[in-house]
Amino acid sequence: MELPLDSDAIDAPLSNFRPRTGSMEAWNAAYVRVEDYLRAHRIHNRLHQSRLIQKILERAARRHEQHPALDPTTLAAEEAEAVMDQWFSDVLGRTDETKDRLAIEGRVALLISDGARKWPYAFLATDNAPEDFKRAMRASSMEAGPDMAVSSMVPRPIDLGAISEAAGETLERFEKWPILRTLLLWIFFMSALALVFYATR
């Protein structure tokens, strides 16, 4: 199904974007989602943002033609992820990682190198990323703890002495027999009462 799209709804760089399938509402929602996702990556340069959105939406639109039942938002988000995975792989020079791991490592590297702020046009750019940016990305690592050097720290029993040992055994006995504990509490209470009674005679 082809629906006319209002060109005013999208920015200038997207003026050529004409998806052949899907509703205008659905593509607008996809647009907003990709924009939100890029902004969540701290891509605030509107021009760069628009270029990336167009690229991602075009890829999504092509897929939508083949799978019109799928939601454009889902397709756009998947394409955004695919574009990022490819870009992280190129920039970090990694091909051996799983997709998930690569995305995690890439985002951590981008964060630590402060890439989105220092190289505002480099993120997801198709042309070659600046060398200093690549170096910064590859050098960025996050170490939550140093290498482990395991020690054994085993609790040693403390000899509590005869008095404490006897008290300990008694207490453990009391814990086993709650009736005894209650009884003792009553006796204590009665004694206190008796004491006050005696003292005030």
């Binding site: 989602r33 995690i104 509590l160």
Partner: protein, 712 residues
């Protein structure tokens, strides 16, 4: 094994010092007991009077210990200091090489900004000493609230980015909070202890200057027989009136007590749990704590671990020193009376557990004394209460007897000398002297030099502050007595103490909390007051200082919790401390940084409760940081199903129906976090809960100008 050498102080000299201390306590207590016994001994002693006398001896010996310590401190300070203190083992200008040291900060659901800004200040201060290469920093988190955890991770990354701290500042979050703080420290030692010779243990609110840290490591390197050096942290950064009072008292009075303690304790000192340096190897070997017989509250795991660790170090032959003269060690105190009571509740249970250990084999006598004093710090309150109640009964008893039999002694008699002052009054003055003289000696020491007095705001403000502090602390004493008595009784009965949920206003006050917490104390004071007045008006007036504190406990607690009153006192130059009049660099920076932090926009109300979870799922960077810090696990089929059901529910329904345990389970599962992030961004809006739709919209509104990548 005895590692402590005699080089530092000859055993005979140390024995002499200790003899002086204990003789002083004994003489003072004996003298007061003499007066008391004489007062009671009118027609011979009854059973009640014997009970009163015994309780009196126990109570008086407590205050005598403080008094004699302060007097010895005065003696030491007056002669220009103690030559036998650990800090004097390094000559001025002597350069002692350092060794690898870990600075560890165990945290548990603390104010994240305060923790990390504190760490930033410490890091920078060490950096300025040019000895940073010897130090590594560890945040050891036991936080079990999703928001705290995610905030901590975010703050850690941000701090490391800003100060270049990756590889120097580390963050560790335990999955299971076994054995609380002691378990957290033990976990660190098992993982990384071998990499370091020393560790400096900090509290979440501790600040230590780089110079102090370097000095501590140097002292340990110089004195190879020392296991622990404890600094004396000064209370700082208080805003409320209560906090500023405690801060002032700590700053003005503590030097006297610290000097006195060092005089007689020497290498048998104590460990207070933080702001101390510890030699790691012997600590690993000797200080892994076993459980006590029975279950909590008396048995089970040892809660107040520090005293026991000091005792175990001493038992193994390692020296434990108190370095009260090292500058640059700070901590923060509770802002209100109720917060202080809550802390005391925890400490009370921990200290009472030490009853098991007082007779433990191999412990040194001084350590047994420390344990006993820890117990008595709380048990003396029910004893005091019992003493006052029995006194009331005694007066009632005397009132019922024929008038001729009861006559308060109109004169003081000592070895047949009669002085025309009522004996009760003599005893009262004598007790007041023991209680308040140390405060006035401290005042004298501060006032004798104009420059020193100026650091406390000047002579007149300082004098006025001491008088006010004495009055307020006298009013607080009976309130604390009732709190502590309750804690002791509840601990013995194995009961928990419930607290009112706080709803503090901007001023730091909460009338509802104060009324519900102090209501019983007020009622008790009023009933007691009326009863004692009916029994004997004279006795009522003797009891009035105690009764007054109880009766006005609600407004007093509210007034003391007010930040405005604290600030007004500051404007009037009252309760000023040198850290306020001449703030050190570290504290100044901390204040500035925190002011900046608290300027950040807070998340909107609807998202605030689960903002940590929101960020961990939604924010691509925070999600990546969080996942990369989780251990990869291969889940079983059952857990995979469980997590799938949780994840789907979270996105469809939002987090409101989730328990903290469920949220933590998701946050701990790397696979779930990756899945949630992807699905959140992939699912069309109509498939998401309204909460998530709002989150996506609002999150980017908040990040309109994210100058700092994560700190929002």
């Amino acid at each position: 094994m005895r590692i402590v050498s005699n080089e530092f102080i000859e055993p005979r000299r140390l024995a002499r010092r200790r003899r002086t201390f204990f003789t002083g306590v004994f003489v003072l207590t004996s003298l007061a007991t003499w007066f008391m016994a004489d007062l009671l001994w009118i027609n011979g002693m009854t059973g009640v009077e014997w009970a009163l006398l015994i309780l009196f001896v126990v109570l008086y010996s407590q205050i005598a210990i403080g008094f004699v310590t302060a007097l010895l401190g005065f003696y030491v300070i007056n002669r220009g200091g103690d030559s036998r203190q650990i800090s004097s083992s390094i000559a001025p200008g002597e350069d002692v090489p350092l060794a690898s040291t870990a600075i560890i900060m165990p945290v548990y659901n603390e104010d994240v900004s305060r923790v990390f800004e504190g760490l930033r200040v410490i890091f920078r201060s060490v950096q300025e000493t040019k000895k940073l290469e010897h130090f590594d920093f560890f945040i050891l988190s036991d936080s079990n609230q999703p928001n705290q955890w995610i905030q901590e991770e975010v703050a850690w990354v941000e701090l490391c980015k800003q100060v270049g701290g990756f590889g120097k500042i580390f963050y560790r979050k335990r999955r299971q909070q076994i054995n609380k703080k002691a378990g957290n420290v033990a976990d660190f030692l098992r993982r990384w202890g071998k990499n370091y010779r020393y560790m400096v243990v900090l509290d979440a609110d501790s600040i230590m200057s780089g110079a102090a840290l370097v000095q501590l490591v140097q002292l340990m390197e110089k004195n190879t027989n020392v296991g622990i050096i404890q600094t004396a942290p000064r209370l700082v950064n208080a805003d409320s009136l209560y906090g500023r009072l405690q801060q002032f008292a700590n700053r003005l009075y503590s030097p006297l007590f610290l000097a006195g303690l060092n005089y007689w304790q020497q290498y048998d000192s104590n460990y207070w749990g933080h702001n101390a340096i510890i030699r790691i190897q012997p600590f690993i070997e000797h200080c892994a704590l076993p459980d006590l017989p029975g279950t909590e509250p008396f048995g089970g795991r040892i809660l107040s671990h520090d005293f026991v660790e000091a005792a175990l170090m001493r038992k193994a032959g390692w020296a434990v020193w108190l370095a009260g003269d090292i500058e640059g060690s700070y901590e923060e105190g509770p802002p209100t009376l109720i917060d202080s009571a809550k802390r005391d509740r925890r400490w009370c249970q921990g200290n009472m557990q030490h009853s098991w250990l007082v007779f433990a084999k191999g412990f040194r006598p001084v350590n047994r004394f420390h344990l006993l004093m820890g117990i008595m710090a709380y048990c003396s309150s029910p004893i005091w209460l019992l003493f006052l109640i029995i006194s009331t009964i005694h007066v009632f008893d005397l009132e019922l007897k024929p008038a001729a039999a009861y006559r308060p002694e109109a004169f003081t008699q000592l070895f047949n000398y009669k002085i025309e002052i009522p004996e009760a009054f003599t005893l009262f003055i004598f007790t007041m002297l023991v209680l308040f003289l140390p405060k006035f000696i401290s005042l004298f020491l501060a006032m004798r030099r104009k420059e020193e007095a100026r650091r406390f705001g000047g002579r007149w403000p300082l004098f006025t502050s001491v008088i006010l502090e004495c009055v307020i602390s006298a009013l607080l004493a009976p309130i604390n007595m009732l709190f502590h008595a309750k804690f002791v009784v509840f601990t013995v009965l194995g009961q928990g103490v419930s607290w009112v949920t706080q709803r503090r206003g901007a001023e730091g006050d909460d009338w509802r909390e104060a009324i519900l917490t102090h209501g019983g104390q007020t009622l008790f004071g009023m009933v007691w007051g009326v009863s004692s007045y009916i029994i004997s008006p004279i006795f009522f007036w003797w009891l009035s200082p105690v009764l007054l504190g109880l009766v006005i406990s609600i407004p007093l607690s509210i007034a003391l919790s007010k930040v405005r009153f604290g600030q007004s006192a500051k404007t009037l130059m009252l309760f000023l401390v040198p850290e306020e009049t001449q703030p050190p660099y570290e504290l100044r920076r901390l204040r500035q940084n925190l002011a900046e932090c608290y300027k950040h926009m807070r998340p909107i109300e609807a998202l605030r409760a689960d903002y940590g979870l929101l960020q961990a799922v939604l924010d691509p960077y925070i999600n990546a940081v969080h996942v990369s810090m989780l251990r990869q696990r291969k889940p079983s089929e059952e857990s995979r199903d469980y997590f799938m059901q949780l994840r789907t529910r979270l996105l469809r329904e939002g987090p409101s129906g989730f328990t903290t345990k469920e949220k933590m389970a998701l946050l701990l599962d790397a696979e779930s976090m990756i899945w949630l992030h992807r699905e959140l961004w992939c699912l069309p809006s109509h498939a998401l809960a309204e909460w998530w739709r709002l989150a996506v919209r609002q999150y980017n509104v908040l990040t309109a100008a994210p100058i700092t990548a994560l700190y929002r």
